[in-house]
Symmetry: C2
Subunit: 365 residues, 2 copies
């Protein structure tokens, strides 16, 4: 084991997703994680990267993404070494992504402990986040434990997964066994969940030792483990990318929640309040953004409104919007497309994006 605890700590940032719900701001060639949603000058990915620099050395931060996003990542995070960017040759959900990243790290450092993070979420309470991750890593480093971060729900959100808390393990650090996972419940059930106080939102952040999660893959997801175990001699060598090019597409597309977390017996949850949102939709973005007296939100843009309420305005670049007479709308504008849509109907946007693709072509979506 290396001398310093910090030297064994790694961070895997998953940044290969496509998000169609933020169309037209997010498109297949520029998904949500690369967007500067809050006009701060940093994209969600960049903010995620900045945040984890406190947890581990830059050389221990690994990005896993689709090969088509290599150029964007180089542009947004020029300091990341090319060797630390793992390019998936195909989209296979989170389990293969994580399995590869862990093998890659394990080959360099078998004592590694790893925090795996989505790149497209909002975290407002950075200090609380860092404390949570530090304590979580301390916890998983002590044994064969898989840890997820559970967030206290603020509303009966039907778009999130829920974690049911089990018995306390180390009360001091707010860590519990996980009793069950439930994917996106209906509103009625979500209300029961929230009222019970027993259910927390699943953040999609995972902490474990490299050996623990590799063992779990072997036991619970052999169809994935077999694919990646075959490359043990290649990881960390020049042969790695050739191996991945052939092997990766043969792995089944499964989420790590489904492949591992819902099945494993050693799964724990650390509860936290991080000022978190998965920014899964315009509505979610609206909810977590500062509002004018009329309830309007402006993203990245100068807006002159008359008689507009509860509306979110988003543009790219140096553009202005003049609007009146809108209530509860999404107004999102890019150089390729303009969306003006009732916020309450935002669940239709995914379908609309498909219709746009069919009618006007790939370049718009």
């Amino acid at each position: 084991m290396k001398e310093n605890k910090r030297d064994n700590r790694y961070c895997v940032i998953m940044c290969g997703g496509i998000g169609s719900r933020f169309w037209p701001m997010s498109r297949a060639d520029m998904p949500k994680q690369f967007l500067d949603f809050f006009g701060t000058g940093r994209s969600l990915l960049q903010m995620t990267y900045d945040r984890v620099l406190e947890i581990c050395d830059p050389s221990n931060i690994i990005l896993v993404t689709n090969s088509s996003y290599f150029d964007i990542i180089r542009r947004q995070l020029p300091d990341v070494a090319i060797d630390n960017i793992l390019l998936e040759p195909a989209r296979r959900n989170t389990a293969p992504c994580i399995c590869w990243a862990v093998h890659h790290i394990y080959a360099k450092n078998p004592d590694a402990s790893i925090v795996t993070l989505p790149s497209d979420h909002l975290i407002l309470k950075e200090r609380e986040f860092l404390r949570t991750i530090e304590e979580g890593l301390d916890f998983v480093e002590k044994g064969d434990r898989l840890l997820t971060i559970g967030l206290k729900p603020t509303c009966p959100h039907t778009g999130y997964g829920y974690i049911q808390l089990g018995s306390p393990v180390e009360e001091r650090e707010g860590i519990r066994k996980v009793k069950s996972f439930t994917e996106k419940p209906n509103l009625e059930m979500a209300k029961v969940f929230v009222d019970s106080g027993e259910f927390y939102w699943n953040s999609g952040m995972f902490l474990w030792r490299a050996d623990s999660i590799l063992k779990a893959f072997g036991e619970l997801a052999p169809e994935i483990a077999n694919v990646f175990d075959a490359g043990i001699k290649a990881y960390g060598t020049p042969a790695e990318s050739d191996f991945i090019a052939k092997a990766f597409p043969t792995a089944p597309a499964i989420s790590v929640d489904y492949a591992i977390m819902e099945k494993a017996g050693n799964v724990y949850v650390k509860t936290a309040d991080l000022g978190w949102s998965d920014l899964g939709s315009w509505k979610a973005l609206y909810e977590c953004s500062p509002k004018t007296a009329e309830g309007n939100v402006t993203q990245n843009c100068s807006v002159l409104t008359g008689d507009c309420r509860n509306t979110i305005f988003a543009t790219e670049g140096d553009k202005i919007i003049v609007a009146a007479g809108l209530d509860d709308f999404i107004v999102a504008d890019t150089d390729k497309a303009l969306l003006i849509y009732p916020k309450k109907d935002e669940q239709n946007i995914r379908r609309l994006v498909n219709e746009v693709k069919d009618r006007f072509g790939e370049k718009y979506v």
Copy 2:
């Protein structure tokens, strides 16, 4: 007098205006007359030019514009000789503009008859237009007469000037003496005008012989005549532009309607039905555009709508709009600004443009 009637016929196209009511499509550096409103590939100015090629030789078509639009005009009408583009060094409304153009033509051909046209109007009935202009020129060429074209009103429009018809002169050609001019009446009065059948819209198109209108300037608007008479030796010579640079800004800013037409005794009106609109506002453009079953109009753009009604959508370039839940809106989008505004409140747009200028800067208006 030259041999051929056509050789004595000239056309003056006034294309120096700024129109803020079509913001953001029209801006100070790209006013309405230069826009391709109907996605036909030709701007309103180009369509005006194409139309008058039937009336006179290209060498007899004179454009009068503000000097700042020289480049746009060269781009849009590359066939027009530079000598035929008169560049006003200042904005002085229509009377000085016309007085200069007439002097310029008179110096070349004292037997000239001239039709003077705005460049930013829509005319759907081209054959009727040509017939009207031909007959009108025949009429003014016979004597000292100032002729305007009056359009049969289709609604009590409060944005137009009205011409009250007097006694018939040459019934066969639909020409009457003018009894009175009335600028933009209120709605009540406009209704009375239209119901009476005696009032026609003032199209801003004028026909006269060069000597007739110069005489009228001398008699009725000496403050303008004096300015331009001083250059008689310069017109048609290399000294013309130097003379204009000094003299033009000293002319008062007055419309030709006010300076001449409302005062002259020899004013006539030829009535016509030209499928005409001055395209003075989004609403006017909406009214004269083809509509979907839901009453929507799309200008230059691909639109995917759900539950939108009576709305006009306009974009620049190759952009799509996805919209729902809009009724009676203007949606106008450029690379600099996006306007989403209730159509019924469009009279506010002029004020808004000023507010935009104050708050966000010149470059947006």
